[in-house]
Symmetry: C2
Subunit: 310 residues, 2 copies
């Protein structure tokens, strides 16, 4: 966390595999993260919504992040989610990320109370940043109002950037409303705005944004990376159409559990279907239909991690 310039590229909110006793499957998590980097991701936004982050305790998340770094995943490729309901928890997770040398953190606002004032949300982020107290910290705000129930008004983002210009350097917009990113980039040119879906990747890059942090990079990173690498080229429009079609196909099914079903098929490992409650594995029949539609769309199933990096 030494560059003030925001990150850019294709980041994956890596799925989190669990053992039969619902504990985090660390070995499979490391393997999946390595494979994602091999498959085209610039980095990993571990512990996002897709990762079931909030279904794991702070201690579980810290142990898993330590394990990734110990396994040789470069901390500079890591952008862990750290936003909890309690600022003490958020500060603890964020301080660990800084200590490990992570590229930054993706920070939800406290999300239990709804309808909080701009002052209250500002104080939550400000208090956390002050507690961590490091000039190495890079915060990417996380705007996903339809899940968290707590959106980040543009005025709040501008106030945070003004107060912490070297720290609050970006945002992930998972609202599905492109106008939010568009207005953000107009208000704060050069801000590290990531689209929460690759459907908006080309539009985002053309507007000066940073890239995408997208759930579906768990199974389609290569094509999304190709679009990112070639967004100024003549084929960009067609490439966008291709990744959009696949995203919309996958989105037609339950997203997180559908992705776990796909990874189970890619790896030939049914244990990947497991989730922590309150999520439940996608119905087998629904999952089979998802895989059928993906195969028809050209996704090669049964691919192994080794094959991907060959």
């Amino acid at each position: 966390m030494t560059e003030t310039r925001p990150l850019s590229g294709v980041y994956c909110p890596a799925l989190t595999p669990v053992n039969a006793d619902l504990s985090l499957n660390t070995a499979a998590f490391i393997e999946h993260c390595r494979w994602l980097l091999d498959d085209g991701c610039h980095g990993l936004a571990v512990f996002g919504t897709t990762s079931e982050a909030n279904s794991f305790s702070v201690d579980e998340r810290m142990a898993a992040l330590d394990a990734l770094v110990e396994a040789g995943i470069a901390p500079t490729a890591l952008l862990p989610g750290t936003g909890c309901c309690a600022i003490t928890d958020t500060a603890r997770l964020t301080a660990q990320a800084v200590a490990l040398g992570c590229a930054g953190v993706l920070m939800l606002p406290p999300f239990y109370y709804k309808g909080m004032s701009e002052d209250g949300l500002f104080a939550s982020f400000a208090e956390t940043i002050e507690r961590v107290g490091s000039d190495k910290l890079r915060v990417y705000l996380y705007h996903i109002p339809q899940v968290s129930g707590v959106g980040l008004p543009l005025a709040l983002v501008e106030r945070l950037v003004k107060a912490y210009p070297d720290t609050v350097v970006g945002l992930k917009d998972s609202s599905g409303d492109w106008s939010y990113t568009e207005n953000l980039l107009k208000a704060i040119p050069g801000f590290g705005a990531f689209s929460g879906s690759e459907v908006f990747l080309l539009a985002n890059l053309r507007a000066g944004g940073a890239g995408t942090i997208s759930a579906t990079t768990n199974v389609n990173a290569r094509a999304i990376r190709d679009l990112y690498d070639n967004w100024t080229g003549d084929a960009a429009g067609a490439m966008q159409d291709g990744v959009t079609r696949r995203r919309e196909l996958i989105q037609g099914f339950p997203l997180i559990t559908g992705l776990k079903h796909i990874v189970a098929a890619l790896r030939g490992d049914p244990s990947w279907r497991r989730t922590r409650p309150p999520l439940t594995p996608v119905d087998e029949a629904v999952g089979a239909r998802l895989l059928g539609e993906l195969a028809a769309d050209g996704l090669v199933l049964g691919r192994q991690p080794e094959a991907a990096s060959a």
Copy 2:
């Protein structure tokens, strides 16, 4: 947690005072809890929504609960909130409550993801109950959809009661929709249904419910207790009108921060106004108006804990 019969009475989701550094003010918390029991509460539903529970870490909550019991508050008067987003956290807090001999726990569903299936919510509660694995555990479900974003459908409650008849013995209905409690008590006669507001106390008791767990007992427990003790008497209707009028007066202001402002005035201790972000203290002018209206309604300010128990 040895009686299968549900609790009944007037319970307070005690406010949580914080020090200038936003740490939990344990001494003031103990003092407030003692005063609430002196002021008429049968027990304390510490770490509820009013208590800013989710703004504190699991460790902070466990330390505060230990401190209450060490200070001599009877565990049989305690019904701590334990529901978190991660079942590992919920199980840890719940196991502590059982180990301390608490009367029961008030359990939110995991509340990050919205629109979860009945199977997923059932699995969350079931997995937690199985992990705690104690026949002493008594669970009161916590239905507050307008804050948590995750309501508890009646079919889910019935399924949990059927699966765990000696464990899932009650529910707090903070929805503000009386028909929810009404339907619940029709479907599960004798269920320990607490109204989240004393506005519904008389109706709840007449329908066979258990009492109230209400935010405003932080400042008006005595009158609510009087209604509870005399609900079959001729004066019950007038007593209900009185507590309803005061509740509606207080509810006309920001509820949690307004209550902290009132306690600050009752105690003569401005530090009680403090909150953890994302909550912010009520504006001084708004707070002054609230106190003015309460004084006109007969609330005696400047009362000290000592005076209350005299």
